[in-house]
């Protein structure tokens, strides 16, 4: 039996919390990079408005960071209650990964706090302040690294085997092959570029909104226009890497998570909601963003002649356009022509719309900024949803059963959950005292022996001097009382399974 929410399904609730957290956390990662970049540009060219922009962005970052944190813990609590068996096994499996990730998270929170609140205090040490802010990017990379390894494991557990001996002591709570699973690097690359892109487009979108309200004030208009374009530029450069990384990511999925791969490609399962294939919709958004970005830069290319920064020369725009045309053409050959034609239509539409928006705004970038910000948000949400929805799901008891991909009993037998609580009796003192059920030899072996070595070693042992062996293990530190020792020796001597 499982907890039910009543107002929505358990997986729907988790999806909502997960997407909410992703929206904020991914933005935080992008913002950290943008802040450093903007402050660096401001320092390099001695432009105050970029520095001011960086500071205000960091303030916004400080505010949303806490919302992301709280949301993450809400997600953890929700998983604990709604999917207890899965969550406990998974968390114990990757315990040390999560603890180190949490420590990096603390480093990040404190660094962000220092970076913002000490901004004016260390103005004379600007390079030091820049370095402090620059630390955020590798820290976020690290933290993300750990989360993505764990998240990608859920999709591509890879070849698994029991933990092997390391430094003569097995490390519980760490799974080398699970961590360095087939898709972890692709997911890491894909999300790092995506978050920088999302963060930049989000800021640009915000600048676009502010431009609607401050079009009459030349100072504020220049402020939002320049900083928006800076963010847009960085975001678009980062964004251009995504379709390439995404292709290789898909290739990994095809080899290591074929069911998930075909769910995505064919639009099966939860990938389709309300008749809309969300995976394809995301790709159409991406195509629109390619066109939209190129259209914006081509319309603004003339500004390069007047010395404005963060513009892209026409030659580069055409080169990128040709490259992506060929890329999508190849995708059409591999996948379907419908994919190519629809993507082309959206890309061209995005290009034309973007140029029109700048013309209509009399050179103002507000509309393209806003459009790209919204599209970027959409791709992040749709991409995250699709990845989760494509994965083979839990069984009706919410037990983790990833359809041949991961079954705890096969992977690490000591991760199996005994769902029966111990017997309880009242004590004369009034408070009930837990009485643990009599020990079972197989569970003793599975539980106590794996503190130092794996079970295969026990199975491989061909001798028959089990009393001596078990006594030696107790001397080495295994916790077994006399009764438990007797049970274990009898069990092993009889050659029974465990």
């Amino acid at each position: 039996m499982n907890l039910e929410l009543g107002f929505m399904s358990a997986k729907g609730f988790i999806a909502f919390l997960g997407l909410f957290h992703t929206a904020v956390a991914s933005l935080a990662i992008g913002l950290a990079f943008m802040v450093t970049f903007a402050e660096l540009v401001g320092y390099r060219y001695r432009i105050r408005r970029h520095d001011l922009f960086a500071k205000r962005t960091q303030l916004f970052h400080v505010c949303i960071y806490n919302i992301g944190t709280i949301n993450a813990i809400g997600l953890v609590f929700a998983l604990s209650g709604l999917f207890p068996q899965f969550w406990e096994q998974f968390f114990v499996h990757f315990h040390w990964v999560m603890i180190v990730e949490e420590f990096i998270f603390f480093l990040l929170a404190t660094t962000i706090t220092f970076h913002y609140f000490f901004w004016d205090y260390v103005w004379g040490h600007k390079k030091l302040h820049l370095f402090l802010g620059a630390l955020l990017t590798p820290l976020f990379f690290f933290q993300f690294y750990f989360i993505n390894a764990v998240g990608s494991f859920m999709l591509t557990p890879g070849n698994f085997q029991e933990g092997t001996l390391s430094l003569s002591v097995g490390v519980l709570g760490w799974d080398r092959l699970g961590f360095f699973n087939p898709s972890f690097m692709m997911l890491q690359l894909h999300r790092v570029f995506a978050n920088i892109s999302y963060g930049g487009f989000f800021i640009a979108g915000w600048c676009g909104i502010r431009l609607y309200f401050h079009s009459a004030d030349p100072v504020k208009k220049a402020y939002y226009e320049d900083n928006g374009r800076l963010s847009f530029y960085v975001a678009f450069m980062s964004f251009l890497a995504l379709p390439i990384v995404g292709f290789f990511y898909s290739a990994v999925l095809m080899r290591n998570a074929d069911e998930a791969f075909w769910n995505l490609m064919m639009g099966r399962g939860d990938v389709v909601k309300a008749g809309i294939d969300l995976w394809w919709l995301k790709h159409l958004f991406v195509a629109a963003m390619v066109g939209g970005g190129l259209g914006y830069f081509s319309r603004k290319a003339a500004a390069l002649a007047s010395g404005e920064r963060f513009s892209v020369p026409n030659a580069l725009i055409y080169a990128v356009a040709v490259f992506y045309f060929i890329y999508y053409l190849c995708m059409g050959l591999i996948m379907t022509w419908a994919f190519f034609l629809w993507s082309l239509a959206f890309a061209v539409g995005g290009y034309l719309l973007s140029r029109h928006m700048v013309n209509y705004g009399k050179g103002s970038s507000r509309a393209p900024f806003l459009m790209m910000g919204l599209l970027s948000f959409g791709t992040v949400m749709l991409g995250g949803w699709s990845r989760e929805a494509a994965r083979p799901r839990f069984d009706e008891n919410r037990h983790s059963a990833y359809d041949k991909l991961y079954i705890p009993a096969e992977r690490q037998p000591y991760l199996m959950v005994d769902l029966q609580p111990p017997e309880l009796t009242d004590s004369p003192a009034g408070a009930p005292v837990a009485v643990v059920a009599p020990p079972n030899a197989a569970s003793l072996i599975a539980g106590r022996c794996v503190g130092c070595h794996d079970l295969q070693r026990v199975r491989n042992y061909r001798g028959d001097d089990w009393p001596k062996v078990v006594n030696t293990m107790v001397v080495y530190g295994t916790k077994l009382d006399e009764e438990e020792k007797r049970l274990v020796v009898e069990h092993l001597s009889a050659g029974l399974s465990f």
Partner: protein, 87 residues
């Protein structure tokens, strides 16, 4: 316990230490640097400052924290490398 100067009871009205309470005026008090917007005429001027003008405690704190963070990153990297080879 007194050092001869009672806190807050100087000869002048102690409430005037920080100026008048902005009762009737709707003028927005210039915000402190840590929040809000700063729209100045010289928004494009980058105000450089001497290092000696920064409070020492702030600079020391940042240096200590940077050192600590770099050390932690090195440690985590070492953990990852060790984890790559060991299980």
């Amino acid at each position: 316990m007194s050092d001869g100067t009672d806190s807050g009871t100087a000869t002048a009205d102690p409430r005037k230490i920080l100026g008048e309470y902005p009762e009737q005026s709707r003028e927005i008090i210039p915000p402190a640097d840590e929040a809000g917007e700063i729209w100045t005429d010289d928004i494009d001027t980058y105000p450089l400052r001497e290092k000696s003008e920064d409070p020492r405690w702030a600079v020391s704190t940042v240096w200590v924290w940077v050192g600590f963070t770099l050390g932690c990153m090195a440690f985590v990297t070492w953990l990852l490398v060790m984890g790559l080879f060991h299980d």
